[in-house]
C-alpha cells in the first residue's frame, strides 16, 4: 500500500448521471426543523450528494439521536 499520508482518499464514486468527479461542497441537511450545513462530496454539475455508509451510521446517526432527545 502506498501511503498518501493525510490526504483524504480519492472518492471511488463518480456521478452516474454526468460521469463527473465528486468534489467537497456545502450541503444543507435538515432534521426535525434543524438546518445544518456540512461539507460533503457531491457532483457540482448535477447536485447529487453522496452520504457514505460510514457517515450515515456514524456521525449522522449520532446527530439524529441527539436532535431527537432535545
Amino acid at each position: 500500500m502506498n501511503k498518501t499520508d493525510n490526504l483524504p482518499p480519492k472518492p471511488v464514486w463518480k456521478c452516474g448521471k454526468c460521469g463527473g468527479e465528486l468534489k467537497h461542497g456545502t450541503v444543507k441537511i435538515t432534521y426535525l426543523g434543524n438546518d445544518l450545513r456540512v461539507e460533503e462530496l457531491k457532483c457540482l454539475n448535477c447536485g447529487l450528494v453522496l452520504i457514505t455508509e460510514e457517515l450515515a451510521l456514524g456521525k449522522m446517526f449520532e446527530v439524529e439521536q441527539s436532535l431527537e432527545d432535545k
Binding site: 452516474g16 444543507k28 450515515a56
Partner: protein, 780 residues
C-alpha cells in the same frame, strides 16, 4: 414582555409531584433493612455485614462510628433489638449482629474518632448525669459545636456503665471511649450533684438543659418534681428549655443511647428555633417496609463460636456475616431484564422519568429508557405493592407523543408497518362466501398473517367448516403498535376504522388468533373470543397420537398474563394433541415477554436480544408459542419453537420447529399475498399481479438480507431506490467495478442501496439509511 415558559410544568405531562410521590411510595427498595430499622440508632448493619465479609475492617469501624457515639462501649453491651427482627431468623437463625460488632471492635478497634471541625456555636447547654443518656446528648451536641457542660455527681463519668462486669466491659475501654469528650467545647464537672434547687440557677446560666435520667426514674423525679411529665417524642418537660430522658427504665443500653440522641436533636432544634415535633417518625426503632422475598432461600444455622467466651474468630465472623441476606426487595429487577439493564430500581427510574418530563430545554436522557420497557406487566405481578412500570412508561410515552417530544426513530418503523397492514395492501373485510351476514368474524391479526399465512388460510377454511351462521373475515392490524408507542391519536383512528368495518358485518363475534389483538379488543368490544378457547373442544384435524411430538414448554404471551381461560385452553389443546407439557419457571401470570412487546425490539434492539436470549434459556425442551411474534423471535435466536397452529395444521413438524423468523420484508409480502390468495380461493377474485416497483426483481444473499433486517430496510424500500435511480439516472457509479449507489426517500427515511444490474434483476450489495434529509439543489 413577560415569558412564562421556564418554570411552568409542561402541559400534558404524565406525572405531577403528587403522582410521583404516590408511585414512589409503592417501591420499597430504598427502605432500610429490618435490622437497621429495628436498631434504635439505625446502624447500617447490611453494609457492615458486607464489610466483614470483605474483611474490610476500616469500613466496618467507620460504619459503626457513623451511628454509635462510643462504639467500643456499645458493641460490648448492646441488647441488640435488631436481632429480634433480622430476616434471617425465618430461614435459619438471626444473624449474630451484636457479636459481630463486638468482634470488629475487639479485634480491629479504630482509633478514637477525632474532634470533627465544626464551626463553634455560642449557645450553651448543661447536661445533668453522665450515664448513656447524658453522655450521648453531650457528645452529639458537642459535635454540633455547642458549648456543653456535663455535671456528674460522682468522681467519674459513666454512671451505670461501671456496673457491667470487667470481662464484658473493661474499665480501660470505658475510660478510652469517653475520652472523645475531651474537647475544648466540653467542660466536665465531677462531684457536682445537681438538686431541684440548683435547676433554676442552671436555667439562668445555660441556654438549654438536659436531664440525663430515664423518665420517671428516682433521679428524674427528685430533680423535676411536679414537672416530671416528659414527652416521649420531643423529650420536653413542662419547663421551657429543659429536656429530659423520655423513655422509661435503664434495662436497655441501646434505647438509653437513642433516648439521649433524641434529646440532643430536640435541644438542637430548640436552639435553632426549629419545630420540636415535625417529622420525627424516623427516630428510634421502627418497622421497615422493605419487602424481602424469603422463598427459595435455603435455611442456614448460626455459625457457632469455638470459644464461647472469647467471641468469634476471624474466620467464624466472616462466615457468620456471610449468612446476612443483604436484604433488598428488587423483586421486579430480578424478574425483568429491562429493569436490570438500567442498573437501578423503579423508585430511581420514577424520578428519572419524572425529570425527563419536566425538561423544557435540553436533553431528555431518559427517552430511550422509557421506550425500552416491553409493557409486559410482570413487574406489577411480582411487586408486593403492584407497582406497574409498564403503565408508567406507557403514560410517559403518551405524554411524549402529545407534546411532540417522542423521538421519531423509536417507533416509526412499527407504525409504518401498522399503516401497511391497514392499507389496501392487506386490509380486507368480507362475509363468508355465500353469506350476507356473519355470526362470527375471524381476525387473524397482522403478525400471524405475516409469519404463517398458510395457517391463516387453513384456520379460516376450518372455521367455516366447523361453525354455522357465517364466519366473516377481517384482515388488518389491531393497532397495538400505536398503543405501545403511546400514539393515542393513531390508535384511535385505527380502532374506529376497525369498528366501522366490524359494524359493517353486523357486529359478529370476534375470533382472534393473536393474544395482542385479544388484549387490545377485550375491554372495548363485547364477546371477543380467542381462537384457542373457541376450538379447545372442537374436532381438530389431528389429535392424540396424530402429532406424537412429545414434550413442549409453553410460552404464554405477556398479553395473556391474566387470561386464565386462554392458558387453560392452550394446555387442553396440547394435551389433546398428545403433547407432554412442561411449565417454564415463568409462565401464566408470571410469564415473560419475548422482547417484541412495547416495541422494545425497535427502540432498543440490543436489550430485546438479551430478553429473548434469557427467555429461551429457561428450558431445553422445544417451546410452543401461540403468538406469531414470540415464535419468530425465539426461532430467530436459534430456539426450536413451534406455533400451536403448527401442531394442528403443519405437515412437517421438524421443519416447522426450525423454520426461521420470517423477517420484516417477508411479512409484508406474506400479508399482501395472503390477501390475494384468500380473495382468489374463497371469493373467486381473479389473482391480481404485483405492479409497479414491486415487480423489480431483487437478488440478495443471506448476509445482505440479515443486514437489511437489522437496519429495518424492507425489500420494497430497496425496490423503490432502484426504480428511482434507474428511472432518473440519479446514481453514483464506481468505475472500478461498475457498481451503482443510489438513494431515495419515500417518506421520513432516506434509503441507500449499492447494487449491480444483472440480466434478470438487481443484485443488492449493501444498504443503509438515515433519517436526516439532504436538501439538494437539484440541477437538471
Amino acid at each position: 414582555m413577560v415569558t412564562h415558559t421556564a418554570n411552568i410544568k409542561e402541559v400534558g405531562a404524565a406525572m405531577d409531584q403528587v403522582e410521583l410521590r404516590r408511585l414512589e411510595s409503592k417501591c420499597s427498595q430504598e427502605n432500610p433493612p429490618a435490622c437497621t430499622a429495628g436498631c434504635p440508632i439505625h446502624v447500617d448493619v447490611r453494609k457492615l455485614m458486607q464489610a466483614i465479609q470483605n474483611q474490610d475492617w476500616k469500613s466496618a469501624a467507620s460504619i459503626l462510628q457513623q451511628k454509635q457515639p462510643f462504639p467500643g462501649i456499645i458493641s460490648r453491651i448492646c441488647d441488640h433489638p435488631c436481632e429480634d427482627v433480622c430476616k434471617r431468623k425465618d430461614v435459619g437463625a438471626t444473624v449474630a449482629i451484636s457479636n459481630l460488632e463486638k468482634f470488629c471492635l475487639e479485634n480491629h478497634a479504630p482509633k478514637i474518632a477525632n474532634v470533627g471541625a465544626v464551626p463553634p456555636k455560642s449557645q450553651t447547654v448543661a447536661v445533668v448525669g453522665s450515664g448513656l443518656r447524658g453522655l450521648t446528648t453531650a457528645y452529639d451536641l458537642a459535635r454540633k459545636g455547642y458549648i456543653v457542660t456535663l455535671f456528674e455527681k460522682s468522681d467519674r463519668l459513666g454512671g451505670n456503665l461501671w456496673k457491667h462486669p470487667e470481662q464484658q466491659l473493661p474499665a480501660q475501654v470505658i475510660t478510652n471511649e469517653l475520652s472523645v469528650l475531651n474537647r475544648p467545647n466540653v467542660t466536665i464537672e465531677r462531684n457536682a450533684g445537681i438538686t431541684r434547687q440548683d435547676l433554676s440557677q442552671l436555667k439562668e446560666r445555660f441556654d438549654a438543659l438536659y436531664i440525663g435520667f430515664a423518665a420517671q426514674s428516682e433521679d428524674a423525679l427528685e430533680l423535676l418534681g411536679e414537672n416530671s411529665r416528659i414527652d416521649p417524642i420531643s423529650c420536653t418537660t413542662p419547663i421551657a428549655g429543659v429536656f429530659a430522658g423520655g423513655q422509661l427504665g435503664n434495662n436497655s443500653p441501646i434505647n438509653a443511647v437513642a433516648d439521649g440522641r433524641r434529646g440532643a436533636v430536640s435541644i438542637d432544634r430548640y436552639l435553632q428555633g426549629a419545630s420540636l415535633t415535625a417529622s420525627r417518625d424516623g427516630e428510634g426503632a421502627f418497622e421497615s417496609n422493605l419487602f424481602v422475598n424469603l422463598n427459595k432461600i435455603p435455611s442456614l444455622p448460626a455459625v457457632p463460636m469455638s470459644h464461647e467466651s472469647g467471641g468469634y474468630t476471624g474466620e467464624e465472623a466472616v462466615r457468620e456475616a456471610g449468612r446476612c441476606l443483604n436484604c433488598q426487595c428488587l423483586e421486579c429487577v430480578k424478574a425483568c431484564k429491562y429493569l436490570e439493564s438500567y442498573g437501578g430500581y423503579p423508585k430511581k427510574y420514577l424520578r428519572e422519568i419524572y425529570n425527563n418530563e419536566s425538561i423544557v430545554m435540553g436533553t431528555r436522557h431518559a427517552n430511550k429508557m422509557i421506550n425500552s420497557c416491553t409493557q409486559c406487566g410482570l413487574c406489577a405481578e411480582v411487586c408486593p405493592n403492584d407497582l406497574d412500570m409498564g403503565q408508567v412508561c406507557l403514560a410517559s410515552r403518551e405524554s411524549m407523543v402529545r407534546r411532540g417530544k417522542m423521538p421519531p426513530s423509536a417507533h416509526d418503523f412499527a407504525l409504518r408497518d401498522m399503516a401497511f397492514s391497514n392499507s389496501e395492501q392487506f386490509a380486507l373485510t368480507r362475509h363468508q362466501p355465500g353469506f350476507d351476514s356473519s355470526k362470527y368474524v375471524f381476525f387473524p391479526g397482522c403478525q400471524l398473517s405475516g409469519s404463517s399465512p398458510e395457517h391463516v388460510e387453513k384456520v379460516y377454511a376450518y372455521l367455516t367448516e366447523q361453525l354455522a351462521g357465517g364466519v366473516g373475515l377481517m384482515l388488518r392490524c389491531c393497532g397495538a403498535p400505536a398503543h405501545w408507542g403511546g400514539d393515542q391519536g393513531q390508535f384511535q383512528t385505527s380502532f374506529e376504522e376497525m369498528v366501522a368495518e366490524w359494524e359493517s358485518l353486523g357486529k359478529p363475534q370476534l375470533i382472534v388468533a393473536c393474544s395482542t389483538c385479544h388484549s387490545i379488543f377485550r375491554e372495548k368490544l363485547p364477546g371477543v373470543v380467542s381462537l384457542w378457547e373457541l376450538i379447545k373442544d372442537m374436532d381438530l384435524p389431528v389429535q392424540g397420537a396424530g402429532t406424537n411430538y412429545g414434550k413442549v414448554a409453553v410460552q404464554d404471551p405477556c398479553t395473556t398474563r391474566y387470561e386464565q381461560g386462554i392458558h387453560e385452553a392452550v394446555r387442553h389443546i396440547l394435551l389433546r394433541l398428545g403433547c407432554e407439557i412442561e411449565e417454564l419457571p415463568y409462565s401464566k401470570e408470571l410469564t415473560k415477554c419475548c422482547g417484541f412487546g412495547g416495541l422494545t425490539a425497535f427502540a432498543n434492539p440490543g436489550l430485546a436480544r438479551k430478553i429473548v436470549e434469557n427467555r429461551i434459556k429457561e428450558s431445553t425442551a422445544d417451546y410452543v408459542a401461540y403468538c406469531a411474534m414470540c415464535r419468530d423471535r425465539f426461532a430467530a435466536h436459534g430456539k426450536r419453537t413451534l406455533h400451536l397452529l403448527d401442531l394442528i395444521f403443519a405437515d412437517d413438524l421438524q421443519n416447522a420447529a426450525t423454520r426461521p423468523d420470517s423477517g420484516f420484508s417477508q411479512r409484508h409480502e406474506h400479508r399482501a399475498r395472503l390477501k390475494r390468495t384468500l380473495l382468489h380461493r374463497f371469493w373467486q377474485t381473479p389473482q391480481e399481479k404485483e405492479r409497479g416497483y414491486r415487480t423489480i426483481k431483487i437478488i440478495c444473499n443471506e448476509e445482505i438480507s440479515k443486514l437489511m433486517e437489522e437496519r429495518l430496510i424492507l425489500l420494497e424500500d430497496v425496490q423503490q431506490v432502484i426504480e428511482h435511480a434507474e428511472g432518473t439516472g440519479r446514481k453514483f457509479i464506481n468505475p472500478d467495478n461498475d457498481n451503482y449507489l443510489a438513494y431515495f426517500r419515500p417518506a421520513r427515511v432516506t434509503y441507500w442501496v449499492e447494487y449491480q444490474p444483472q440480466e434478470n434483476g438487481f443484485v443488492v450489495l449493501n444498504s443503509y439509511s438515515h433519517r436526516m434529509e439532504i436538501v439538494e439543489e437539484v440541477k437538471p
